[in-house]
């Protein structure tokens, strides 16, 4: 075999082992997180025994693990995976390192929907008003993206600018509504905007898990196209057999859906979608075929870590994961950026 081929295969092997290691670490941390919390520190081994059905838990233990912590841990993993994947996909197809899942305005749409439910008591599905509103309003933004994508000469910048415009518009409407809100409503809306993993139930988190899992492979399919677009721009992509306009639109629709599914349930969580892809670039490089899975795992780990710290640090007070992500992830992110002399391309 050719020597260059051989070293490339060895390198790919190392990257896959690294990815497997990161995945293992995440699963291990998930188990640890299940056993840790404000009320009942079970310890790692007893938790594992309960999870794998080796010991019969007491009623209280069973409730804590399965009804309280499991949905939360699952949601952290699924949310981290979805938001980080969306972030990596979007940074790639818009060719911009500043992009996060919040850039497109999907989250602002969701916030507007939540505000409608909380302040105006307006909803299409009253039983799950906030979630349903957040999701439906973010779908309106997805609709705008689809509309924009059907235009002939839409550029990457157009998407970002329209996203910013949507953010301003939705923000202004929400601000206006807060004038008419009661203190209780204001507090609820503020709490929503922190982003929290405590809302989804076991059923919610399993359904979201399946949804995200079914959308993820589509992200991987775009990996080649992203490589071509990121490397040489649209002309280069076309000559490699990629239609940049259609690919960009499809990727953005996928990312917007992933984002809105999560954010509707958790509230605003943004940082993981910006930071996890960049951290992954440092770990595994920029080839999107590896970067997308690595971002997904890194996103899950980051969310799990932030949430576990958030609910143990000042126990029994639980600090929402959105806040913890920025508090913990921000400095790590800045440190990495400084260490690599600011050099993180897209």
């Amino acid at each position: 075999m050719d020597l260059i081929t051989k070293s490339h295969i060895e390198k790919t092997g190392r990257q896959i082992r690294l990815l497997a290691g990161l995945l293992f670490l995440t699963l291990f941390f998930a188990l640890f997180s299940l056993g840790t919390g404000s009320s009942n520190n079970l310890g790692l081994v007893p938790t594992m025994k309960i999870i794998f059905g080796l010991t019969e838990p007491t009623g209280l233990q069973s409730d804590i693990i399965w009804r309280l912590r499991f949905p939360r841990v699952l949601m952290a993993i699924v949310g981290g995976v979805a938001l980080a994947t969306a972030g990596a996909l979007m940074q790639g197809c818009l060719g911009n390192p500043l992009v996060s899942p919040l850039t497109l305005g999907v989250a602002s749409g969701a916030a507007l929907g939540a505000a409608f439910a909380i302040i105006l008591d307006f909803s299409f599905i009253p039983e799950v008003a906030i979630v349903a509103n957040a999701f439906l309003f973010s779908l309106i933004v997805v609709g705008v993206i689809i509309r924009l994508g059907s235009m002939r000469s839409v550029s990457a910048e157009s998407y970002i600018l329209v996203g910013i415009a949507i953010t301003f518009i939705a923000g202004a409407i929400v601000s206006t509504m807060t004038y008419f809100a009661t203190d209780a409503q204001l507090s609820q809306l503020t709490h929503w905007s922190f982003g929290s993993l405590s809302r989804p139930t076991l059923t919610d988190s399993v359904i979201i898990g399946f949804l995200v899992l079914s959308l993820l492979p589509m992200g991987l399919i775009f990996a080649w196209d992203l490589n071509a677009m990121a490397l040489g721009g649209d002309d280069f992509a076309i000559s490699t057999g990629v239609d940049p306009r259609i690919t960009r639109r499809n990727i953005l629709i996928l990312s917007a859906l992933l984002t809105s599914i999560i954010i509707s349930f958790t509230g605003l969580i943004g940082f993981v979608g910006l930071a996890a892809p960049h951290m992954s670039r440092l770990i595994i490089g920029n080839d999107y075929r590896k970067l997308i899975p690595c971002s997904a795992v890194a996103g899950a780990l980051l969310m799990l870590f932030a949430d576990t710290v958030g609910r143990t640090l000042f126990a029994p007070v639980v600090i929402p994961v959105g806040i913890m992500l920025s508090v913990i992830g921000g400095p790590i992110f800045m440190y990495l950026l400084m260490k690599h002399k600011g050099g993180m391309g897209v």
Partner: protein, 278 residues
């Protein structure tokens, strides 16, 4: 091959691969290309000469659908380019832009691997990797295999992008100023490598390259197309097209043309600019 850059061998006669009929292209009201007609056969290398703004790049981009033509038709092996799926088109044509500016930190090996993208579904096999490795050697790029593309010099990047086009294994190469960033030796090496690929009688590949260096055009092409103000002024063998009067008319420069003694190639000795451009 690396020891003797610059040796000249011309291709033989083959069937028509690319056909351009009545092509017009406009940017708004500005008609950039007017009624362009030409054929390119297998094993043929065609140089496009013309001054800045003559439409060389625009023409090249019309051939692989980066530019959508307003009128006329481009066919590859009798298939209409405008109706081909992009993925099929990229198996027939690969395009080398004049420069690829990027901050995307991808390794050279993976850049070349992008050339396999039209041929593989998702996973690449060791065979694909071998194609990449061999092409790296062919262009003398093996030292750069695991270097970051965004940190290479302009000339190195240009060779990498040309090598990526070769990995793509198309029947037609479109090269926009393929030697603009290269030193003299590398210019000859690169053009030799392309010439050898085109000459290979086991396949019928052809290349169209836009170029400013008249001597490179003369040395490596079977045919020269002189593009002037959006129209083809002359199209034929280098010795017929590259003449004192044509050079004066298109470039506004005096020149002497001498025939090299040891082979068929000609040398254009550039003289003074003519004060008034015609």
């Amino acid at each position: 091959m690396m020891e003797t850059p610059g040796e000249l061998v011309r291709g033989g006669d083959s069937s028509v691969i690319l056909k351009v009929e009545n092509l017009h292209f406009r940017w708004g009201a500005n008609e950039v290309l007017k009624n362009i007609n030409f054929d390119v056969s297998g094993n043929e290398m065609v140089a496009i000469l013309g001054k800045n703004g003559a439409g060389k790049t625009t023409l090249i981009k019309c051939l692989n659908r980066i530019n959508q033509v307003n009128e006329g038709k481009v066919t590859i092996a009798s298939k209409d380019v405008s109706k081909m799926p992009l993925l099929d088109l990229s198996k027939s044509i690969s395009y080398v832009p004049q420069t690829v500016r990027t901050s995307f930190p991808m390794e050279v090996f993976d850049v070349l691997m992008l050339g396999r993208r039209p041929h593989v579904s998702w996973r690449t096999s060791p065979l694909d990797k071998d194609v990449v490795s061999q092409t790296l050697r062919q262009f003398g790029l093996e030292e750069l295999a695991f270097r970051r593309f965004d940190r290479l010099s302009g000339g190195e990047r240009q060779r990498v992008v040309i090598a990526k086009a070769v990995v793509q294994d198309p029947s037609i190469y479109l090269l926009d100023e393929p030697t603009s960033d290269l030193d003299l030796w590398t210019q000859l090496l690169t053009m030799d490598t392309i010439r050898n690929i085109i000459n290979d009688s086991r396949s019928e590949k052809s290349a169209i390259f836009a170029i400013h260096d008249i001597n490179i055009a003369a040395r490596y092409s079977d045919r020269v197309m002189l593009l002037h103000e959006g129209e083809i002024l002359a199209d034929g063998p280098p010795e017929d097209v590259i003449t004192r009067s044509n050079i004066a008319k298109v470039f506004g420069v005096e020149c002497d043309i001498t025939q090299a003694t040891n082979d068929r190639s000609m040398n254009v000795v550039i003289g003074k600019p003519i004060t008034k451009r015609m």
